[in-house]
């Protein structure tokens, strides 16, 4: 299991910071857990990153789960109408 821990604020800069670790994690082929516990602010860039991860997981067959995605992440996803895409496509806890 590879864990990617997201920071408190997910803006374009922090999204950019997460791309390489995520690419490496998918390349490794191990199940991936994206930990969202610390996230307090997230916008379109962050949702896009999560959506990209979900899509990559689906296409590569690498198991992906989002943990701690209840607070800010869930609220932003609901506002954007992406709850089903993000939380019903994989294993969200």
């Amino acid at each position: 299991m590879t864990r990617i821990i997201l920071p408190q604020t997910i803006d374009r800069q922090t999204v950019a910071d997460q791309i390489e670790p995520l690419r490496a994690a998918f390349a490794g082929g191990e199940p991936i857990e994206i930990v969202c516990d610390a996230v307090e602010q997230i916008g379109q860039a962050g949702l896009q990153l999560l959506m990209s991860a979900v899509r990559t997981g689906r296409e590569t067959g690498v198991a992906l789960s989002l943990s701690g995605a209840g607070g800010a992440v869930e609220a932003a996803a609901r506002l954007a109408g992406m709850s089903d895409m993000l939380f019903m496509s994989g294993d969200a806890r």
Binding site: T9, I10, D11, R12, Q13, V15, A16, I19, L22, R23, F26, E40, Q41, I42, G43, Q44, A45, L47, Q48, L49, M51, S52, A53, R55, T56, E59, T60, G71, A72, A75, A76, R78, L79, A80, G81, M82, S83, D84, M85
Partner: protein
């Protein structure tokens, strides 16, 4: 927006839905097994059902309900995708297309009882009995009182329970439908587009669907990209200006489209599960959870060229807007006027010795680019015509027992909307003809060492400023001895005539010509191929044949990209100037006196490559004084027309060859026999465009005489 306009949009979206459904079904037929393809077909049919209910098309609604039931079971995995089932779905699709055409008023309502029975039987009794909804409420739907509509449908025994449930979610029927897609700049400047969405939700907006189809996988993901788009319904009570105000400061960075009233018609195209229909009741998220709109901005990449954007991001920015065709034609007309005015200006400056002004060249280029761009707006991919072909093949193969594999290439090739609309009929006949006459039966093919399955190939491409469409088959080829014998028998050709292969092939375009031993309802009535050629020529196009015995036949249609401009030869007759469309011109000649002979006192004939052709004086046709009357001193233009074959037009002089903007005589004056329109030349003079077909028909020559 008027009801008729909304209904027009519904039918346009029906066409799009039918296209998606057929593409999906053909993909299934081709071996695709993925859930998304089945889902795409289901959603297309589902959307048509929803809209048909709102507009009171009960038969269409009832039919789609049963079709959709089977598709729903299919996507739930209750049926295996067998060839038999796919065949049924394709047949059901064809009938759906008929139902849509009937709802549009284009044809009678099809008798769908048999198909409904097959659908229900296949659905293993899951479908309800065939019922037609009481239309007491549907008439009221014309004013979009959906609550009333749903109330009338809510009888407990209503066969459209699914539909009712789905559309009941449309709370904001009286709403403005928007599409919002932030561009990269919306993020690049430190902005947060979700706050814009939040504003819309605060206004009572409902997110109908989110388009995430452009979000790439992580290997292609770019943190600076903007990949999302939202379909939002905002209550109609919200002023448009209030909506626009939200986007006032991000106008350049965010696409905002008003898509009209949100009648319960269809949902957006769904691709790869990436456009999600959303639960209507979105609870506003706490603002604190969304990043502040203003944030420390890094240097904006405002100068980034589109080519530098991630491919998916540029795709995500592709959007469409529906425009009234009348407005578009007015724009094109005005651009035509601009082209003429620019030419006149250039001519005047040239006459004043100022032709080398640099800005004049720039203006010329800009004008041409503007004209090209304006014309391209009317351009449509030929896909809409090609998409009809699979159905034609299904129908013809069903009645002939032949096996056909279709190959299509160049569906995205674009040409003028009018040409697209008019080319469908000739193309349909060519396809039918290719299967019925061109391809052999499976037994004959096997005996000839070919595969049992015949091949029809349909291609389109741009070539030298024209679109070239080819319909090819790998069948038996044209039986020339038989064609010639039939033509002689019917008096179309003199018995002693010696014709080239090309001439013989072209005989199949003669009115009433057919070599079919028996008349079928597919082709063989001899009323088709001449109409095909006439229709193609009416579009300013040409059709040619290339056939090899035993190997097949190719019909090639060369068509103009547009009907608004044409390539013409500028000629003078007396003091008048005329334009002869180049599509009709074969060659121009300046004859020697010995090449001219007379029939009687007034009908000159000229020998052109072994054939004697009648010379027709344009001056005589239009009573123009002062024109050249001696063919040996005039310029003779050899033209070809449907009615008269080859003929020769006598003019005084050839001045130029150029593209001209066509002005309708009918609209601006009245129809004049022998004239196809007018144009304005650079010197400001009006030049009339000859209708070669009309001019040469005045004295249609005797083909047998010419051929002898």
């Amino acid at each position: 927006m008027k009801l008729e306009e909304i209904q027009d949009i519904f039918f346009q979206e029906c066409d799009e839905g039918l296209g998606q459904a057929e593409a999906g079904l053909l993909a299934l037929q081709g071996g695709a097994q993925d859930d998304e393809t089945v889902n795409t077909v289901f959603r297309a049919v589902h959307s048509i059902k929803g809209g048909s209910g709102a507009f009171g098309f009960e038969r269409l609604q009832a039919y789609t309900h049963h079709f959709e039931t089977l598709l729903d079971q299919l996507r739930e995995g209750e049926h295996a995708l067998t060839p038999g089932l796919i065949g049924l779905l394709l047949a059901a699709f064809d009938m759906l297309a008929d139902h849509v055409a009937a709802a549009r008023g284009d044809q009678p309502t099809p008798d769908d009882a048999g198909m409904l029975q097959r659908l229900q039987e296949t659905a293993s009794g899951a479908g309800a009995a065939i019922e037609v909804v009481d239309d007491t409420g549907l008439a009221a739907a014309l004013d979009f009182d959906l609550d009333g509509l749903l109330g009338d449908l809510d009888t407990g025994e209503d066969p459209f329970a699914d539909w009712e449930r789905d559309t009941a979610e449309d709370e904001h029927i009286d709403a403005t439908r928007l599409f919002v897609r932030p561009r990269e700049g919306a993020l690049a400047h430190g902005g947060e587009p979700l706050l814009l969405i939040r504003e819309l939700v605060d206004m009572g907006g409902i997110i109908r669907a989110v388009d995430a189809s452009a979000v790439p996988t992580i290997d292609r993901f770019d943190a600076t990209g903007a990949y999302l788009g939202w379909h939002v319904d905002v209550p109609a009570t919200v002023a448009r200006s209030d909506i626009e105000e939200i986007f006032e400061f991000v106008a350049d960075d965010c696409l905002l489209e008003f898509k009209g009233n949100a009648a319960p018609v269809v949902e957006a195209i769904v691709e790869d599960g990436a456009i999600a229909e959303v639960e209507p009741a979105i609870e506003p998220a706490p603002l604190t959870n969304v990043l502040p709109f203003v944030a420390p901005a890094e240097p904006a990449k405002a100068d980034m060229a589109p080519a530098e954007l991630p491919a998916s991001a540029t795709q995500s920015m592709t959007a469409t807007i529906r425009v009234d065709l009348e407005k578009l034609d007015r724009l094109i007309n005005l651009v035509g006027e601009l082209v003429i005015t620019q030419a006149m200006l250039a001519q005047r400056l040239h006459n004043s010795g100022l032709a080398q002004i640099e800005e004049l060249n720039d203006l010329d280029h800009l004008t041409r680019e503007l004209q090209d761009s304006a014309m391209s707006i009317r351009a449509q991919p030929i896909r809409s015509v090609f998409s009809r072909v699979p159905r034609i093949i299904r129908e013809v193969t069903a009645s002939t027992g032949k096996e056909v594999r279709l190959e299509v290439e160049g569906e995205a090739t674009e040409l003028d909307k009018t040409v697209v609309e008019r080319i469908g009929e000739p193309l349909t006949h060519l396809i039918r003809n290719a299967i019925d006459h061109g391809l052999e039966s499976p037994e004959e093919r096997l005996a000839a060492g070919k595969s049992a399955e015949g091949r029809i190939r349909l291609t389109a491409e741009h070539r030298s400023g024209r679109i070239v469409i080819c319909v090819s088959d790998d069948g038996r080829g044209i039986d020339r001895p038989r064609v010639l014998a039939k033509a002689i028998e019917r008096g179309l050709v003199a018995p002693e005539a010696r014709l080239s292969d090309e001439d013989i092939d072209n005989l199949i375009f003669s009115p009433g010509f057919s070599t079919a031993a028996t008349v079928s309802n597919i082709s063989g009535r001899g009323v088709g191929m001449d109409v095909v050629r006439r229709n193609v020529q009416a579009l300013g196009g040409r059709i040619t044949i290339a056939s090899t015995p035993g190997k097949g036949t190719t019909f090639t249609l060369a068509l103009p990209l547009t009907l608004a401009i044409l390539d013409g030869m500028i000629v003078t007759v007396g003091a008048e100037t005329y334009v002869i469309p180049l599509t009709h011109i074969i060659e121009s000649v300046q004859p020697e006196p010995e090449d001219i002979k007379y029939i009687g006192a007034n009908q000159p004939m000229i020998s052109v490559r072994g054939s004697w052709l009648p010379v027709q004086s344009v001056a005589n046709q239009f009573a123009i004084p002062g024109a050249q009357v001696d063919p040996a001193k005039a310029v003779l233009i050899v033209v070809e027309s449907e009615a008269a074959g080859q003929a020769v037009l006598m003019v005084d002089e050839i001045c130029d060859q150029r593209q001209v903007v066509i002005k309708s005589l009918e609209t601006n004056y009245r129809q004049v026999e022998g004239l196809a329109g007018a144009t304005i030349l650079g010197d400001g003079r009006v030049a009339l465009i000859l209708d070669v077909e009309g001019v040469t028909t005045v004295r249609a020559p005797d083909r047998a005489l010419r051929r002898a």
